[in-house]
């Protein structure tokens, strides 16, 4: 009966220890990329084979999901820059610009990429799905300037982009509704451009139907998705390190579920007897 009335704070301590200890130790669990993540990787490889490849990356997440989403952003930017794919980044949520600028500046510097020539950041635009329709009609009208207030026609990487179909791939990094309720209905369905996404683990189960219908060509779900992508590009980062803690804590939670159920059935048997 004690196990059925365990103080939740004891479980919190176990979870904390399960996270902290693996982060401080150096060991690893095998990471096997899943099909949706491989499809994202293949999409970037396809884009790398195009002439003057350009990808639009939409940062639709904020600091509240940074531990899950930022490793994803870093991984896809590393893949893109390592294959000389140009990147134009935008934000459709208000608290995203800081993280987007940080990721672009860091990975851009790692690969010696120049702002304006190899990548650009256009800033934030409100309106949820409205900017997507606007971008599909006239990209320069939607983004007259970049985040540094330079006229878009003076930013070389974006100067020749007329609409969303000029991108070889559109990639959304999302922690909310943007994949399912903005990009797919108002972008992919209307303008038919290749689209892939990375999302928080909470969102991932809802997005599998769009993978089946190919409205979403590839998907990275949560920290596990980011770790799988780091494995594919062979650059282990914070997601790979985080998976140690993730795996150990999952085992602890499974153990508590099993213990709780065992205690429940044992108590029922005692009552029946």
């Amino acid at each position: 009966m004690d196990l059925l009335n365990i103080d939740r704070r004891i479980i919190f301590v176990f979870v904390f220890v399960g996270v902290a200890i693996p982060l401080m130790l150096d060991f690893s669990f095998p990471i096997k990329p899943t099909e949706p993540v491989i499809r994202v990787f293949d999409e970037f490889e396809r884009v790398a084979g195009e002439k003057d490849p350009v990808v639009l990356v939409s940062f639709s997440y904020g600091p509240s999901t940074e531990p899950e989403m930022q490793p994803m952003a870093m991984a896809i930017l590393r893949h893109a820059f390592s294959r000389d794919i140009k990147v134009i980044a935008i934000c459709l949520v208000a608290d995203g610009p800081g993280l987007a600028e940080q990721a672009l500046a860091q990975v851009g510097a790692e690969y010696g990429k120049e702002y304006g020539i190899d990548y650009a950041f256009l800033g934030y635009k409100p309106g949820l799905w409205a900017p997507i329709i606007n971008m599909g009609q006239d990209f320069h009208n939607a983004w007259p300037r970049d985040a540094r207030s330079t006229l878009i026609s003076d930013v070389p990487v974006a100067a020749n982009i007329r609409d969303l179909n000029d991108f070889d791939l559109v990639f959304d990094l999302a922690s909310g509704d943007s994949i399912e309720f903005w990009w797919i209905p108002f972008g992919v369905e209307k303008y038919k451009f290749p689209f892939s996404a990375g999302c928080t683990a909470v969102m991932a189960p809802d997005l599998y139907p769009f993978l089946q219908s190919n409205q979403l060509r590839g998907m990275m779900g949560g920290l596990a998705g980011a770790a799988e992508y780091e494995h594919l590009i062979e650059i282990p980062g914070s997601a790979t390190a985080g998976m140690r803690a993730q795996s150990v804590t999952h085992l602890i939670i499974v153990a508590f579920i099993l213990l709780g159920n065992a205690a429940y059935f044992a108590s029922r048997r005692k009552v029946t007897a």
Binding site: P67, A94, I133, E189, P209, S213, Q246
Partner: protein, 241 residues
């Protein structure tokens, strides 16, 4: 002295000692970045203190977060939208390339936006209905056909593909059984007995598996956030990683 006061004094004392050791030992320098790390570490621990129970430290951190987030979002909206895209364009500030026609067109959404503010007064609140009518009308007009296309028509096609004799074919069969049985479960015009009851029970199983998958993913997501904060505390603040 209440437990809350003891907790507050104990935390502040311990936090000050740890930071003094970190600063004295050269793990953190006397710059703005280190100050930011110390403040972030204090706020992180204060917020997680809610796991013990509700306390003044948690409330303090919560209120700081609400204030900072509101100001940050306002700053972004002001500089990148209101000032950057409306005021600069309307009043031709700087080297704005907008034409007179574009400026006149911009007046329409600007006026509609300002009308929403009339709700601040009871006498003028009726004017805001014009803006809301516009938002509802345009929103429904754009959304309904797009959602039908994306969520119904495009989803039906892969569900009714010809079944093949391989693993993909098995997936299709499972999806078909799942879709039909869940639809039957939510069809309340017929009593769920006999054959219909059996099919709806299969639907319940599919729903339960889907809820379980969602719950598992949710745990993974929440743990990822915890991992991020613990990594910050251990690495950026305490330097023990």
């Amino acid at each position: 002295m209440t437990n809350d006061k003891k907790l507050f004094i104990g935390f502040v004392g311990l936090f000050a000692i740890v930071n003094a050791i970190l600063l004295g030992g050269g793990y953190l320098d006397m710059g703005w970045t280190s100050l930011g790390v110390i403040v972030a570490a204090g706020l992180t621990i204060s917020l997680y203190s809610f796991l013990y129970h509700d306390n003044p430290l948690f409330k303090l951190a919560e209120h700081i977060f609400v204030g900072v987030a509101a100001a940050y979002i306002f700053g972004i909206y002001w500089y990148q939208s209101l000032y950057g895209e409306v005021i600069v364009r309307l009043f031709s500030i700087g080297d704005d390339p907008g034409t007179t026609t574009q400026r006149l067109l911009l007046l329409v959404p600007s006026i509609l936006g300002l009308l929403i503010l009339t709700r601040l007064s009871v006498k003028t609140a009726w004017l805001s209905r014009i803006s809301f009518a516009f938002v509802v009308g345009v929103g429904a007009g754009f959304t309904i056909p797009r959602y039908i296309s994306a969520f119904v028509l495009s989803q039906i096609e892969p569900t009714i593909r010809p079944i093949t004799m391989d693993l993909d074919g098995l997936n299709l069969v499972l999806i078909m059984i799942g879709v039909i049985s869940v639809l039957v479960y939510f069809f309340f015009s017929v009593e769920h007995r006999g054959f219909v009851g059996g099919v709806s029970k299969v639907g319940i199983w599919f729903l339960m598996i889907s809820f379980g998958a969602s719950f598992g993913y949710t745990i993974m997501a929440r743990l990822s956030l915890l991992i991020g904060r613990v990594r910050f505390l251990l690495d950026d603040w305490l330097h023990v990683m």
